[in-house]
Symmetry: C2
Subunit: 511 residues, 2 copies
């Protein structure tokens, strides 16, 4: 039997912890997690205590045991209460039980608490951790709430399933602002934006536009924008050329994992999930249940998360002290089994021995690895509340998506063209985004999912510069009713709007 | 003035080419492209001719000059005719002029011709091309027609812009089948599928499911599935562990660029765009107009594309002969300026000198780099026509998206709950996918974009295992009409369907 560290013991640590603070401690919700979670949290809390961090843990239970008690979200209401009271969470990795119906706790926490920014700093620790890129030092600032990860999916026909990618102006403004504020606060020089706006001109175009708008407020920070495929490739081949990267949720997910992997170990990095009111700090690795309780795991990821937490709480000198002690320990060669290398490491240490070495190094500075100097940064990060600037929104048509299992676009096109319902007319039909009516190409493969664009009958849309005319939503409803009565199976609709006279919808490929 | 190679000269090459064929030559549409295009095409065609490839070029004009003549698609109708007659295209890179309104020719060709598969083999040429991964030899098989690249985007409110990710069963079946057939035809051992189906359970779930279905037909091929973020990271850190990778359009775009970049040069690789009837072969690099006409560019990317074309045409022995001559030339150190390295290269050669060296090496075999043995593969790739298996599709509700600039979900929720229109009732409201009514979390940030799920009044949806009841589309139309009359601004709708009794839509986060 493996010896598991009990929550009871951890609470004693917490109480001891509380007892020798002098000024009023900042309460932090602490989740000890599953697998290796309790032992790396114990190690981390001992280091925080020894360094005199002005925090007081308040333990919450979440993860495996809560799931198995029948709570499909993996978190009790009392934990929510503690989180909402304390506003800061330090979280060890948790285990989600096998089986269906258990919801991702991380997704629930991020979305329910509005944790809009995922921040992951990754730097090389060469030669103590082998990497091809000894000078890499990158921070990924990833949007955390929207994009395809809103998870809104619909199967619409026999052939076609859809997921909505939602990009919002407040979402873009918050994450881009955070990236620049982070750069200033932590003495970074450059922010790189990664998007795919050559293809997704409206969604990724919005992200890019907001990046350009906000960047002008930070003249001291160098900026660049890259297409995500090229950006991810260059990041993989030469990460040294990047500093802070800001990007949307899916792209950020990919590039975050790339930087962690090419730095040589996923066991070292911490990450922050930052919201307007609440922030959560965790290691980037999982709970490794196979080695949980053996006291051989590497607490570095959670230690680095706790350092990010201290920086967030503006306890910058303590943060630097712990970081420099940790860097010194790595340099001295006291390494846990996962990073132990014959010839480079001095001694293979246990989880608790590693923590003791870090504690004994408090006050030391690394000799080769770069010194942590968070306390020389510019201070607090400030994200102003979103102010919506209203544009005039005018309905000018609708895209009606039809389920039809024929194959000749001319057949459905001619049929829909003959319908002139309440002054709306068919402009075009696309299949998977490619125009197939009128004047499609014979080689275009057609699924059973037809997007039929209807606009006002008096629109002038034949020229290269179409002029759309306003439509009333009652006309759209009447058209839907007419189509239904004609046996056309409508599966979805997307209204077409102009905003301050600018077209708010993409053209079909070939339109 | 730079000396540009004229199309006239190229036609002479083409005619000479034709003249010394014995058996009936396969006609190929050849686009000489812009910038370095004509000179690398000239080099490539000379090599094909010298190797006795049984093809006859028929030249087509597309790209810069066609755009500038006022054709916004960059391609004339006669070129379409030649392409549709010949079914095979060898294409040099083109230049799209600066300025708005010019459509991407590559996107147009791919989509209009149904080129569903983008195939990019990348292997290391170490030490002639420096790379951290001397044994990498990966083929990316990327879906080329659908996904977010359908480009269907709508701005729906002041805050929110949307792009549709469309994943189709025929699209998945074709690309996955192609990957396995490719593996068999070219003697590959393993196919890795990359998806994000832990988040996108329906769309990426479909891709994964089709991969599992088709893989059982290829028991001789090893298979694995990875989450795209982890897969991209591992690919960047250890590409040697991959063989064939199959994935959807956006992910494929990213991982294709990663492998090309970490192999050390984007100047070396060719790619194929494969359709059911038409196939196009090209270099992966651009037209480099700054060095166009100087006879210093590297024709290797296009040479490799032409080798892929010969393999596609089942001219496997000629393909092997050219590939081995090209590998020998690289080994011997005859390198163009872009890959010339002091101490490793023997001589810096021009574009045409490089082609002459490859020609003089016909019949030679590389001594260190792996021998090309395409002619030992299993032969032709066969993609059967898609057969739709109909499931029973039943409408059980609708998601109605509302533009509302309030902030309290209870206000809109209570209002919509009070509407019981034609036996439909509100089930829940989400904002960016997170449930905010009933029983939302106070910290959830809300945009002006509210997804309101309506189901049949007699549905039993309060329990963990909801039972949905059928709805008639007339009820949906009546509900839209009712909402409109109550001043609710509907921006889009997504119907909810069951397929053979299985739910065809995702739940809200927190639902």
């Amino acid at each position: 039997m493996r010896k598991k560290i009990k929550n009871k013991d951890m609470n004693i640590v917490g109480q001891e912890y509380k007892s020798n603070q002098t000024k009023t401690a900042i309460k932090v919700a602490v989740a000890q997690g599953d697998g290796i979670g309790p032992e790396i949290m114990d190690a981390t809390l001992k280091i925080l205590k020894a360094a005199g961090a002005n925090i007081e843990p308040e333990f919450i239970e979440l993860g495996e045991q809560v799931y198995l008690s029948g709570n499909t979200a993996g978190i009790h209401q009392e934990s929510w209460d503690i989180i909402n009271r304390n506003k800061v969470i330090l979280k060890a990795p948790i285990t989600t039980p096998q089986g269906k119906g258990y919801k991702s706790l991380n997704v629930t926490l991020r979305k329910s608490l509005g944790l809009f920014a995922n921040v992951r700093p990754v730097s090389a620790l060469h030669p103590y951790i082998q990497t091809n890129f000894p000078s890499m030092d990158v921070v990924i600032v990833r949007e955390n709430e929207e994009d395809l990860y809103a998870g809104i999916e619909h199967q619409q026909t026999q052939d076609v399933v859809q997921c909505l990618k939602l990009i919002t102006r407040p979402g873009c403004e918050k994450i881009v602002r955070y990236a620049f504020e982070y750069a200033v606060a932590y003495g970074r020089k450059k922010v790189t934006c990664m998007v795919k706006d050559n293809i997704m001109k409206l969604t990724d175009g919005l992200f890019h536009q907001v990046f350009d708008e906000i960047s002008v407020e930070y003249p001291g920070i160098e900026t660049e924008t890259q297409i995500i495929d090229i950006g991810a490739a260059r990041l993989a081949a030469s990460p040294e050329r990047y500093d802070v990267i800001v990007t949307s949720n899916l792209y950020g997910d990919i590039v975050s994992d790339i930087v962690a992997e090419i730095a040589g170990s996923v066991g070292m990095a911490g990450s922050a999930n930052i919201g307007t009111n609440v922030a959560m700090f965790e290691a980037i690795h999982g709970s490794a249940p196979d080695i949980g309780g053996l006291n051989i795991s590497n607490p570095s990821g959670l230690i680095n998360a706790s350092i990010m937490m201290l920086a967030h709480l503006e306890e910058l000198e303590v943060a630097d002290n712990i970081k420099n002690a940790w860097l010194s320990t790595i340099e001295q060669g006291y390494h846990t089994a996962d990073i132990y290398q014959e010839g480079i490491s001095r001694k293979k240490v246990s989880t608790s021995e590693f923590a003791e070495m870090v504690i004994s190094n408090l006050g030391s500075k690394p000799e080769k690895l770069p010194l942590s100097q968070l306390s020389k940064g510019a201070g607090k990060i400030n994200i102003p509340a979103y102010l919506r600037k209203e544009k005039i929104q005018v309905l000018v048509g609708t895209d009606i998506f039809v389920n039809w299992n024929g194959s000749d676009p001319k057949e459905i096109g001619d049929k829909l063209s003959s319908i002139n319902s309440f002054n709306m007319k068919l402009k075009m039909i696309t299949n998977r985004g490619v125009k197939v009516y009128p004047d499609g190409m014979p080689e275009t493969y057609c699924t059973d999912h037809w997007r039929c664009r209807f606009v006002a009958s008096n629109s002038e849309v034949k020229s290269g510069s179409p002029v759309y005319k306003p439509v009333d939503y009652e006309q759209v409803i009447a058209l839907l009713s007419k189509l239904h009565s004609e046996g056309v199976e409508v599966i979805k609709t997307e209204n077409l709007y102009e905003f301050d006279g600018q077209r708010g919808f993409s053209l079909g490929q070939g339109e």
